[in-house]
């Protein structure tokens, strides 16, 4: 087993590294000063790639690894993997669904509360001694507000369930209407945005959903509306979002992801109706361990010729 080369494309989790070290010959791509030469040198032994939300396996990488059999992603999103190329080459692909659904949904609600109730701004107010001068201003109630969800998959449904605990009416946009829900379906994202108070992006990133939240959607959401993005940065036209927030055309935003991570638009730093997080949707001790176990489990299954645990391709 330890002759099998597994290429990890970027640092993601030390526990995962340890577990892969025990079972395979783990090659840490990011530590190599001359990556092209490194790949050429190890091309014959690399049979697996481990990626995540930041970096995966594009066509170029896949083409330089002739012995590649499986790409195992430490994420549920597949947008950094050239799935068509993998299908073409017969390369298996796995991700980490379900184990992170709760954490991402929890964070979406946490961001909604942080923005509407100005929790981060309040914390700053107390820490800076502002409370001695007077009370913080009135904030906006969260309970009972209409939550509009783009994408009613696992994460979207988990967000809906939590928001219902706050008596929030739920509406959604999806490629097709889902049977068996009481939630209100809207045929377009603009229609959804016009009819909700809080819009949350919870769909997969594909060429079709890139910039699904554009100027028109942002305007429809309006000066009292709040946008929450726990999907991928490119879901939102970031330049439009920034200008809408700076000009007050959008009421607020809670963002865990950005178009060009780790860059974050600095024009947002002074706005107290905006909360910015360093891509931590699944970043809990418990969930990252479960995700790591799933990555390792999928690789072990593949190399033992057993059924994959969570295959995508």
């Amino acid at each position: 087993m330890d002759a099998i080369g597994v290429l990890m494309v970027c640092p993601m989790n030390t526990y995962l590294e340890q577990e892969l070290d025990k079972r395979f010959n783990l090659l840490r791509y990011w530590t190599q000063p001359r990556q092209h030469e490194f790949l050429t040198q190890h091309a014959e032994s690399i049979r697996a790639v481990v990626g995540n939300a930041s970096a995966g396996a594009d066509a170029k990488l896949i083409e330089s690894l002739p012995k590649l059999e499986i790409v195992s992603s430490f994420s549920v999103g597949m947008d950094k993997i050239d799935l068509n190329k993998c299908k073409e080459r017969g390369i298996r692909v796995t991700n980490t669904p379900d184990v992170l659904t709760d954490d991402v949904a929890d964070l979406a609600i946490g961001l909604m509360l942080a923005v509407l109730r100005r929790i981060c701004a309040c914390d700053k107010y107390v820490r800076s001694g502002g409370w001695k001068s007077g009370d913080f201003k009135l904030t906006t109630k969260f309970s009972g507000k209409t939550v509009g969800i783009i994408g009613l998959g696992r994460i979207g449904l988990a967000i809906a369930k939590r928001a219902e605990g706050f008596d929030c009416p739920i509406s959604y946009y999806s490629r097709s209407e889902k049977p068996n829900t009481n939630y209100k379906y809207h045929k377009s994202v603009v229609e959804l945005a016009s009819n909700c108070d809080i819009l949350v992006v919870a769909c997969a990133l594909t060429p079709e959903t890139t910039h699904i939240v554009n100027r028109e959607v942002i305007n429809a959401l309006g000066p009292k509306g709040v946008l929450i993005n726990i999907g991928r940065g490119p879901h939102v036209d970031e330049a439009e979002l920034v200008s809408a927030l700076v000009e007050g055309r959008l009421g607020g935003a809670g963002l865990d992801v950005f178009e060009k991570e780790p860059e974050v638009p600095e024009q947002l730093f002074d706005l107290d109706n905006v909360v910015l997080l360093p891509h931590v949707g699944s970043a809990t001790v418990e969930t990252r361990k479960a995700m790591a176990d799933l990555v390792v489990g999928n690789l072990e299954a593949h190399f033992a010729n057993k059924p994959l645990l969570t295959p995508v391709v």
Partner: protein
């Protein structure tokens, strides 16, 4: 003509004034004739003697309404407080005089419960700390950020299962938490596990959320012993009253890592907050604003007017505080 109309409005005295009055002053004044002691150069006692000897109803703030203040309002039959809590009012004196007390009832319960959940998520998932990290430009420089802790599946212990406690329970159940509680009495109609002993609740819980009234029994109820029982991975959220927690013990436990974090909306000596907390990244601090939303204030205004108008029409009060 205008002053005659104003004179015919029922008279109330406003003490404080509370924030709700400051936001809704004009509206109150269109429905009541309002005595405003803070606008007078006279000290309060003289103002009351001069102006309020016939006043039957008072709207107070969160400040103390002790027996000797009540005695300076000899015609008083009603005190309306804009809070859910009534511990700042001398209830014994009110009972003795037959003065009714009306509070904010469940007006804020949803908002307060929302903030409790918001504080909890912030502490566990490092939302305020993460927001600071990004705004300090550290995402580009340092990249990684320490992991937070999962909320789902955690055992939540609610202290005080009144209207607010129940709203907190309902919300956290939707996140997959299991709920237990400590209260003066067990609530037989509920399936949540009851703990008559606060220490046992803390021992069995990952998270404690304080939703109880401040009374002699609950004063410093959360002390070092309870915090140690909660443990090194435990988180405490306080949206009740500061003095329910022994604040010195809490600060010490946080500094020593005896508990994992705290979300606090209330403090023993507001607006003073222990400076030691400012150095900690695992605490989230808000300035007693759990109830302070536009919507709640609007609802509160309607409730206060509803109570006052019911009183002046000899009807049942909307939110009479009954003796317990």
């Amino acid at each position: 003509m205008e002053s005659t109309a104003a004179e015919q409005l029922p008279e109330i005295i406003v003490l404080g004034p509370p924030a709700i009055f400051r936001s809704y002053d004009k509206k109150f004044s269109s429905r009541f004739r309002v005595l405003r002691p803070w606008e007078s150069p006279l000290p309060l006692a003289q103002f009351l003697a001069a102006e309020a000897h016939n006043t039957q109803a008072a709207l107070c703030s969160g400040e103390s309404v002790p027996a000797d203040l009540l005695r300076q309002l000899p015609a008083l039959w009603l005190v309306v407080t804009p809070s859910a809590g009534v511990n700042h009012i001398d209830l014994l004196e009110c009972r003795r005089r037959g003065i009714a007390v009306a509070n904010a009832a469940t007006t804020f319960s949803a908002d307060v419960a929302d903030l409790a959940v918001g504080l909890l998520l912030d502490v566990l998932r490092k939302i305020s700390a993460g927001n600071r990290f990004v705004r300090n430009g550290l995402l580009s420089k340092k990249g990684t950020y320490p992991l937070g802790f999962k909320l789902g599946g955690k055992k939540v212990g609610i202290v005080g299962l009144g209207s607010i406690g129940l709203e907190v329970a309902k919300r956290l159940e939707a996140f997959g938490c299991t709920i237990s509680y400590h209260s003066r009495n067990k609530k037989p109609s509920l399936t949540y596990v009851y703990h008559p002993d606060i220490c046992k609740l803390a021992l069995e819980s990952d998270i404690l959320i304080l939703c109880c009234a401040l009374t002699d029994q609950t004063h410093h109820m959360i002390n070092r012993e309870v915090l140690l029982a909660l443990g090194k991975e435990g988180v405490i959220v306080n949206i009740a009253r500061g003095p329910v927690i022994d604040e010195k013990a809490l600060v010490y436990c946080l500094q020593q890592g005896e508990i994992a974090g705290a979300g606090l909306d209330v403090f023993e000596d507001e607006p003073r907050v222990p400076n030691e907390l400012f150095e900690l990244n695992n605490v989230v601090l808000t300035p007693h604003c759990a109830f302070f939303t536009e919507e709640s204030l609007r609802d509160l205004y309607e409730l206060i007017c509803g109570n006052l108008e019911a009183f002046f029409s000899n009807k049942h009060l909307l939110s009479l505080v009954s003796e317990e």
